[in-house]
């Protein structure tokens, strides 16, 4: 086990190294490079541009720049934002709570609804409910999140006027929980739809596999009540492989959150990323790419470890 852990951590470190290399070359090999934003300004003289390039260290060879960035990254110095000179790590951590709230609430709703729909679908396979649920799940996986958000705003904020069209809370008002929750409904619901679809599909597939197992037939045969078989015997085992889904889903949830935050002017990391692209704010972009990739790698590692811990049949070696 310890050996497995060591190997996985090492692998994760290698992957993160590659991630940083990929991200860094991506941003720095782009036409114009990091200084492009200054070059676009009409008041910028050529010598000023040279000076800025020198001051930012952008005239050095790429590998020197990368190494100095990597050293800083490892020691917690992620550079300063080009936009307002604040520390990148600070800029990012400011946005983490809003994204966390959004993703966690969408996740909770999605897991609960997805499990329920998946269980019913599996128990009543090929029933009308099953056909409807699986088809709806496929449509939900195919709807562009931004459009779903727009339609949500149109129906609930403009036609029915029951929910606010955006923002994390009423502008200018003091913090209040009901107000925050009221603002959370539409964004979390929008982000949750794709996740519900994935969870119900996986739950259904996993349950179907378990239901056919011999020990379920045995439970039925010895007279265990139907509900008890499903919830006590089948569900427990069907849930085990779903643990890894939480980790696997993370990149897509970050993507969905970015779009959702943009539509609902939600002050999270995704919106920060979109804004930073507009400003060509390379240090922040690089920081966000690394930060999200780090969370994805860690998420998958944790999911795999939990999977090994709760399923005695899985030997992690």
């Amino acid at each position: 086990m310890r050996q497995y852990l060591a190997r996985r951590v090492l692998q994760a470190a290698v992957v993160l190294g590659l991630v940083s290399l990929a991200g860094f070359s991506l941003l720095h090999l782009a036409p114009g490079g990091p200084a492009a934003i200054y070059a676009m300004s009409p008041t910028m003289a050529a010598e000023d541009l040279d000076r800025i390039t020198r001051e930012l260290g952008l005239d050095r060879p790429l590998h020197v720049q990368y190494l100095s960035w990597a050293r800083g990254f490892l020691t917690g110095n992620w550079g300063r934002s080009y936009r307002d000179g604040r520390l990148v790590l600070e800029v990012i951590t400011d946005r983490v709570p809003a994204t966390t709230v959004l993703m966690l609430s969408a996740f909770t709703v999605a897991v609960l609804l997805g499990l329920a729909a998946g269980i019913v679908s599996a128990v009543r396979q090929y029933s009308l409910f099953d056909h409807l649920a699986t088809s709806l799940a496929m449509v939900a996986l195919s709807i562009p999140t931004f459009w779903l958000g727009l339609m949500g705003i149109y129906v609930f904020a403009i036609l029915l006027r029951v929910l606010p069209p955006g923002n994390i809370g009423t502008v200018g008002a003091d913090f209040s929980l009901p107000d925050r929750l009221w603002h959370l409904v539409l964004p979390a619901g929008t982000l949750g739809v794709v996740m519900v679809a994935t969870w119900s599909r996986y739950t259904r597939a996993s349950m179907l596999e378990v239901i056919r197992a011999d020990y379920i037939r045995t439970a039925h045969a010895k007279g265990v009540a139907g509900g008890a078989v499903i919830f006590k015997h089948a569900l427990k085992n069907a849930l085990i492989p779903l643990v890894t889904l939480a980790g696997l889903q993370l990149p897509l949830v970050f993507s969905g959150a970015l779009v959702t935050e943009t539509i609902f002017t939600w002050p999270g990391m995704g919106r920060l990323f979109v804004d930073s692209i507009g400003y060509r704010d390379y240090p922040v972009l690089m920081g966000l790419l690394m930060f999200t990739a780090l969370l994805v790698v860690l998420g998958n590692l944790v999911a795999d470890l939990v999977y090994g811990a709760i399923d005695p049949r899985v030997r992690l070696a």
Binding site: Q11, V14, V15, L16, L18, V19, A22, G23, L26, L27, A30, P31, G32, S135, M138, V139, L141, S142, I143, P144, T145, F146, W147, L148, L150, M151, I153, Y154, I158, T198, R201, Y202, R204, A205, L208, E209, L245, L250, P251, L252, F254, S255, L258, V259, T262, I263, G270, F273, V274, I277, L285, L288, L289, T292, A293, V296, V297
Partner: protein
Amino acid sequence: MSVAHALDQPMAPARPERLSRIVLSRFLRHRPAVVSAVVILLLGLSAALAGHLGLGDPLHIQMSHRFAPPLAKGHLLGADELGRDVLSRLLHAGRISLTVGLAAMAVTVVIGAALGTVSAYFRGMVDAALQRLTDAMLSFPPIYMLLALAAFVRPSLGSMTAIIAATSWMDIARMVRGQMLSLREQEFVVGARGLGASGARIMAHHLLPNTVGIIAVAATLSVARAILLESYISFLGYGIQPPLASWGNMLNNAQSYFASAPWVAIFPGVMITLAVTSFNFLGDGLRDALDPRHVESRG
């Protein structure tokens, strides 16, 4: 009639059913997939014939028709903020979106199949390196990666196709690699090796053809993914640029016109959903038809 042929006659009914017919009949049993195939055909036709349906120029600006509602002033689906015909724009946008979807799929398949094959063939260090690269690429949230790429290149059909493919090949590479690793241990490959076939010949003639099924399924699903990704990037303003219409960029300013002209926001999204759902269902149906062992579709 030769003797051999005569002997052949009574044998005919015993001949096993042809594989293609089995696959076809299994596919036809998947009703959503059949409907989707028809929808895709119609979408393709309407996009191809967009200029010949008498719908008018999708770029023709007519301020007197600004925000004409559906069915008014000769606009079946209404007009947008510049009085352009929404239906005509939808069909022309379909050309762009479907082209990007199909082209990105083709490039994705080539990259994925090539890297997967190389991984499975060389194994060892090459495989380990490619696997870690795949892990790294899978660690980026796709939209983050795409936006970062799209923002720094001049947007065009070609560049959109390239960056979507550059960030989508990982799944196919993984699947092709896995399939090949298991195939190469099977008897027919051992047999071919015993007959003296070279490594490259075994790869090209014995292994790759056996991955066509899973590649076809993955390719279909990757069209859906590419159409969706193109719409995200274009919606955020870094994809196909106006006045050229794509389903994504038709929604650019939709949020500002909600109250007065909801149809401008509704129809492009319907088209995206329709196209993406159809390709997803088609992929599902193909999987059921091509892989008899696969009972339930997952993720």
